[in-house]
Structures are given as C-alpha cells and as structure tokens.
C-alpha cells in the first residue's frame, strides 16, 4: 500500500511557491481522478439524500407533493413522523424492525456457514472441482428476480414443484406462501440460496491466501485437523470474514427483490422487512414522508451497526483503510 502522497513525487522546484500552488501541485492528480466519481455521487446521492431527510420532516404525500401543474403544498412538521414511528403509534415499525433483524441474522449466518463449508470442500484437490465450482456459482449468476420468480413458482400452493413432490409421496400439499411462518421460512431459504456463492468465493480466496507452510508446520507438530482449522484457517480468514460479513449484513438488511417479488411482504404484512415496508408505503400508499422517514431510520441503524462493527473488528487489529 502506498503510504505517502503522492506516490511518484516530482523534484521540488527551486523557486518558492505559495501554499495553494503547492497544494495543487501535490494533489491535483488525485483530485482529477476523483472528480468524475465525486460529481456523480454528490449530484445523485448527496443531494437526494438531503432532500430525503428533508421530506421525512414534512407531511408530503401524493396529493401535496406538487408536479408540473401544481406547486408543492406540503408542510414542515418537524419530527412528527419520527415520533409517530418510534413511539409505536404508527404501529408497524417495531414488529417490522424485529423481523428485519431476524431476517438479516439468520441469512448472514447461513450464508457464512454454508459458504465457508463449501469453500473448505472446494479447496481440496478433488476430481471435478471446476465443475462443482461453476455449478455452485449458478445462484449468483442468475438474475435475482428470475430466481425469485422461479422459487415463487416452485412454492406455489396449487401447482408448485414442492407440492407436486409431496403429493407424489402421498402427503398433503401445503400453501407455503399463505402461512406467515412458512412464507417467512420460504423467503429466507431463497435468500440463503442466493447469497451463498458470494461468501463461498470470498472464502475460497481467503483460503488461498493462507500460507500453506503453516499447515505443514502444524502437521509436523502433531496438530489435529480440528486444531489446524481452529488455529490456522479461522484466524487466516478473519480479515476477509469481517469485510464480507459487514457487506452481507448491509445487503441483506436492504434486500428488496426476494421478499417483494415472492410475497410482496404478505400474507398480512407477515414477511415484510423495513425496505419492503417503506416501498409499499411509497408505492401503494403514496405516503412519501413516512416512506422517507423509514429510509432515514434504516440508514441510521446501518450506520450505527457499521460503526460499532468496525470498532470491534479494529480492536482485533484488523486492517481497515
């Protein structure tokens, strides 16, 4: 990693230059390279974010938000939307939050455990390893919404694959997506299926970066396979793991496609998580202010989580930029 700026230093000119000129000379290239990405992010993320926070402090909805013909007429209401949600008066916030936490925790746990398990198996010398690897990557390659439709079809109560199999075995079919619990389990299964390959690939890369001599040395010293796993593999994977678990948590927390396209958050709102709930507020109920409030709360929660997470992993002397 380059530790000093700039990497390729020019010879300092013999004349004395002003602070500003020196600043520009030293850093112009870095900033020039950053201009395109920064402009795009500021215009399309920074500004909308500020607007979104502002909208969450108003009572904007479809009637008063304004359009080409009508000026906006929504009012500033201060923190009203937040107090409504956080005191539970709006009703749905805490149950949906709890469900989101369960959803995220279970998914990431399975992603990580299954991904690591498969990576460990694929990391051996093994006949057909390339074929296995390609097949196992399929869920990642398939567009998420295609997978969501495929699973929704297989879970269908009247003609889905699972019920066809059950009936073939002489058992009673089930309406998988109509029961609150079975529907939630179903969407979790689909999301686990989707997320494992990313973890597997990340873990495979992590395994390859572990120095093989360590294993040989441990074997010479008589370490059991479990001890080698516990004391070489796991510590060697820690830095990859901490990164992908953080990313996985954020992605899963905000995972929209799977739930929305399979159950639309139903039945009776029993599978919706914060993002899908906010989306339904926006799209079906046109309550822009409350939807923006949910958005701000989601972002705040993730920020708090990420900060705490980074603090914990950093205390393990992790390399974070």
């Amino acid at each position: 990693m380059a530790a000093t700026a700039p990497a390729v230093e020019r010879v300092r000119p013999p004349w004395r230059e002003s602070r500003v000129r020196r600043f520009v000379r030293v850093h112009w290239y870095a900033y020039a390279m950053l201009v395109p990405v920064t402009v795009v992010m500021l215009v399309l993320v920074g500004y909308p974010l500020a607007r979104g926070v502002f909208l969450s402090l108003t009572d904007a909805d479809a009637r008063n938000v304004g359009n080409r013909f009508l000026p906006a007429s929504y009012q500033f209401v201060g923190l009203k939307n937040y107090t409504e949600l956080l005191t539970g008066r709006e009703g749905n916030f805490y149950p949906v939050l709890a469900r989101t936490v369960v959803w995220t925790g279970v998914n990431v746990l399975f992603h990580y455990a299954v991904g690591l398990g498969l990576a460990l198996m694929l990391h051996r010398s093994l006949r057909g390893r390339t074929v296995y690897r390609i097949l196992l990557l399929v869920p990642w390659a398939v567009p998420t919404y295609v997978a969501a439709f495929g699973w929704r079809y297989m879970f269908n109560g009247d003609y889905g694959l699972f019920n066809q199999v059950l009936q073939g075995l002489g058992m009673a079919p089930r309406a998988w997506l109509n029961g609150p619990v079975s529907a939630f389990v179903a969407v979790i299964m689909v999301n686990v299926w989707l997320g494992v390959p990313f973890m597997m690939v990340a873990m495979l890369g992590g395994l390859q970066s572990i120095n093989q001599d360590l294993y040989e040395a441990a074997e010479v010293d008589g370490a059991s396979p479990f001890q080698r796993f516990r004391h070489i593999t796991l510590p060697g994977l820690r830095s990859v793991s901490s990164t992908v678990i953080l990313l996985g948590t954020i992605w899963t927390f905000n995972m929209f496609n799977v739930i929305y396209l399979i159950t639309r958050g139903g039945p009776y709102n029993s599978t919706s998580i914060l993002v899908t709930h906010a989306y339904i507020k926006f799209f079906d109920q046109r309550d822009f202010a409350v939807s923006a409030t949910y958005g701000v709360l989601i972002l705040s929660l993730l920020l708090v989580f990420a900060t705490a997470y980074r603090r914990v992993t950093r205390s393990d002397k992790e390399v974070w930029a």
């Binding site: 380059a2 439709f149 066809q164 905000n254 496609n257 396209l261 923006a292």
Partner: protein, 283 residues
C-alpha cells in the same frame, strides 16, 4: 492449493465429500433447471398439480414471448441490455479512476471520502426515490436509458471503487515509477501499466456493475413508465399477477434473460476468486 496435500483420502471420506458437493450443486441448479423444464411445457401443464419433467415439449412459449405483444419483450430486452452495458462501461471507468486515486494517493479528504463510499452501500434505494424522481424529471431524464444508467452507477460505483482500490494496492508501485522515469505521464502510467495488470479486478467490477443494472427492479419500476420503456424485470413481472398466471411465458422469458447473464458470468468467473479477494479483503 491442496488441503489434503497429495495424500490419498480414505474412500468413505471421498464419498462424503462428493456426496455433499453433489447435493449442494443440485440445490444450486434446481430452480434454474425447473424454470427451463417449465418453459418447454404447454400452459395447461404448467398449472397441473401432477409432477412430470416433460409434457409435450415445445418452443411455443418462446415463440409467443418473442413475437407476441408486438415484440414488446424484445424491446424490454434491448432496454435492459443497453442500460446494463452502459452502466458497466461508465461504472468501471468511474470506479477505476476513483479507486486508483484512493490506492495511490493520500490527500486531504481521503478518509471522509472513503468512509462516504462505504456509507452509500447502506443506502436503501427507497430514501432516494422521491428526490431522484424529481431530479430526473427536472433534467428530463425520466423514461430515458441514460437516467437509469446514471442512477445504477451510483449503486454500483462505491463497491467497485473499493474493490479496485484493493486490487490496485496489490500492483507494485515500482512498475509505475519505472514507467514515469521512462517518460510516461501520470495518466499514461495508469492507462498503460495499471489497467492492463488489473484485468481480473476489472472483470469482477464489470460483472458486478452489469448484474446490478440487469437485476434492478425497485427503481426501474418507478423511473420507467409506459410499456415500451420498461426493463426486463419490470416487464416480465406483468406475466404473473392476480389476473394472469402465464408461467409458460414467464419461464420462457426467464430462460432468455438468463442466457446473457450466464454467458457474462462464465466469462467473468475465472477472474472471480483472484479479483474478489485481492479487492474485497482489505478495505
């Protein structure tokens, strides 16, 4: 490479290992296979409660998807392809320049900017929708390809920038110093030295950007209105709702959509492990 380090594995362990991998692979491809098999059935058979793999297989559903509805599906396909490819090209360009600056330079604002990139990963799209819709309306970009491309870049670029930063970190700076001594400009050494050495990292970011755009439903559903402007996810969502159960059309469309994604994936996957680990592990 070898966990077993050349030693012969006892046969029962081999059976277990292959058994587990076979089971996992079967689960991984099951939905895809089922979609493929369903797409070959007539509509009546897609709505039967009886399990069968084939039922008078034909390509009728494909014919209807491709030619029915005045070729609307092809229109959606074109929309999605143009949008995904543009997102890939622009996204990789933005991420490469930004990632290079983060990798090679320490400048005032380095930490806040890097932190800002991580924060954008946490954005639920929902918080941006209303304002984005207003901005795109004011710029007259609603219902245009470029509007959606720009929006997708904001989703894809932060992750790609971090990935490429990590990848560039692994390229020895001495190579560039040598090139600079030989008279290459800063941009020249970036373009001629670093980029060619970063193909695996770039492949992964290209892949990620492409999939981001190819997969996105939420924003496309709002920002593209009118049948002819839809992208694939939004378009085929209409095949199955409370009034229609055209699973034959949906699955046939799904197969047609998977082909480019799988092709792109097959090309990118050889770089996946190297590209992802070099980039993903250390930011």
């Amino acid at each position: 490479m070898t966990g077993a380090r050349g030693r012969k594995r006892p046969p029962h362990r081999s059976v277990l290992l292959h058994g587990a991998l076979l089971a996992a692979s079967a689960i991984a491809v099951l939905p895809v296979l089922w979609v493929l098999l369903t797409s070959l059935k007539p509509r009546s058979a897609t709505l039967s409660d009886h399990l069968e793999l084939f039922h008078n297989p034909s390509l009728a559903a494909y014919r209807e998807v491709l030619t029915g509805n005045d070729g609307l599906f092809l229109r959606w396909f074109l929309n999605s392809t143009v949008i995904a490819l543009l997102t890939t090209v622009i996204g990789v360009f933005l991420a490469a320049t930004g990632g290079y600056a983060f990798s090679r330079y320490r400048f005032p604002g380095y930490r806040p900017m890097l932190g800002g990139f991580l924060v954008t990963q946490m954005f639920p799209g929902i918080i941006l929708i209303v304002p984005l819709f207003n901005i795109l309306t004011n710029l007259r970009l609603v219902n245009t390809h470029i509007g959606l491309v720009v929006v997708y870049c904001t989703i894809a670029v932060p992750f790609c920038t971090m990935m490429l930063k990590g990848y560039f970190d692994t390229i020895p700076i001495e190579l560039e110093e040598a090139a600079r001594v030989d008279g290459l400009s800063p941009f020249g050494s970036f373009w001629r030295i670093v980029i060619p050495l970063s193909v695996p990292g770039i492949a992964v970011t290209a892949f990620y950007s492409f999939l981001t755009a190819w997969n996105e439903f939420l924003l496309a559903n709002i920002l593209m209105t009118g049948d002819a402007n839809k992208t694939l996810p939004v378009g085929i969502n209409g095949y199955v709702d409370q009034f229609r159960q055209d699973w034959d059309l949906l699955t046939a469309a799904a197969v047609l959509i998977m082909i480019p994604a799988l092709g792109f994936f097959y090309w990118a996957q050889r770089y996946l492990v190297t590209g992802l680990t070099a980039g993903g592990t250390k930011y």
